[in-house]
Amino acid sequence: MRWIPLLILTYLLVVVQTTLGRLLVFSTAIGPVGPDLLAPLAVFVAFGARSWPDAMLAAWAMGLAVDLATAGGPAGATVVGPMAVAYALTAGVLFRVREAFFRERVLTQGLLTCAFCLLAHGLWITAQSLLAPGAVPWSLYGRAWGQVAAVGLYTAVLTPLLHYAFSKTRRWILVGSAGAVRRGRR
């Protein structure tokens, strides 16, 4: 893993997400819905990392960046840390199961990114709701899960494009191969 380029890419994605990314956010009845641009990067790294500590460390850094750039959540003010842990754990799970999937397929990338968002963001809203200073009503928590599902689907739709862009920078952020990539049946 090339850590400096990866951290620079993470920083750039956070800047894009907190500024230009607002153009991709739209209001719905359950609240604002927009893509999480760092989730596809975490999935890309989990697909290509040589070892599980590398994948989890990279995802931890991305999660921390999201945590630091997010001050509000479903229950108001948020704490720093849950997204870093959620990203790291989810990337660890993804690393373990990656051999079971055809990673080069667009559908796989989209589905796994959606699953990544559901798991990481689900853990995040649960942790933030539990750590919130006041009691969070179930209606608010349920609505936040609706937002998580919408964010997951939205991010999954954008994932193939982002994975294509990340694949162009593969040699800058990943070192060597990530073991045999399982190919689909011909």
């Binding site: 956010v25 927009g34 989890m56 960046a65 001050a71 509000g72 003010a77 704490v79 936040a144």
Partner: protein
Amino acid sequence: MRFRTTFTRKHVLGILVALSVLASVSGPRVAGPLRQVAGFLLPPVSDLPMYAVTQVQSRLSPRQGGLSAVEAEQLRRENDYLRRVSAYWRRYGEVYRRRSEDLSNFQRMYGPTVDLACELIPARILAAGALPYDQTRMVRGGGRKLRVGSPVTTRLLVTRRAKALPSRLAVVTSNFLVGRIVASGAFTARLQLITDPSFAIPVRIRRVIVPGQRRRWITVTGGELPRTAPLTAANNEPVDAIVRGTGTGRLVVRDVKEYHKIRPGDLLVASAAGGEMPTEVHIGKVVEVRRDPEDARRVTVLAEPHAPLAGLRNVYILSPIAPVGGS
């Protein structure tokens, strides 16, 4: 005997995850300073893209498209009414003007006064939250450390006095409340939008009387036995309430008594009586009134903010010169 220890990435990961858990349970004491440090990294590059975003969003916002036919007609009727009222008061004004010519105490009339005991700090939105659940914005207020809890508005204050005024004296015109400062550092601060679920502020609901519209029958309780009467300018007292953000771009006022007969089109004004605001500032307009299914005597009022929060760029932070509510 020597112990050989190897420090691997697994150890680093374990330490970092443990620190994250520790930071999580420590709450805002740790989150605030960490975000302040991170706040130094974003502003250098986020200003230009945020400018582009706000420009695009302000052009795409449906509220910029003008009035609907119904709203235009309502506005025309309202203007006719106000014109008549204005003519009436102009006549009275002329009488009082002649009387005031007899008065000689100009010093008392035109001497320095403090209209609004607050300072306006211009600030700019630098970035939004990374996740869509976040209803806060990062702002920079000219390199000053902003006071936590300060209200944030959209418009510049305008004075209409012909006489040159010293700085800090002003008359508030059409400015809208957009949020308040919830965290502040050396160069950046965090603005909590009024639509955030944890935002709450005392407000007054001002019922709008539109000429030609169906009359509202309200229950008047002022010092006598409750009685039903039509809403007029004389008995149109503002309704005190607490407004909260819904997290979905709207505002909600719960447990409003049904007999106040709040209707869509009424206005929400941040109340100066609560002590948080130095003056009354408009927040939003009522768009829906729902009956409480558990108590027929109460309603839930839903409102939309006046300010286009999506395309927010330049804002003004109201910083009290003296403690608000103090002497």
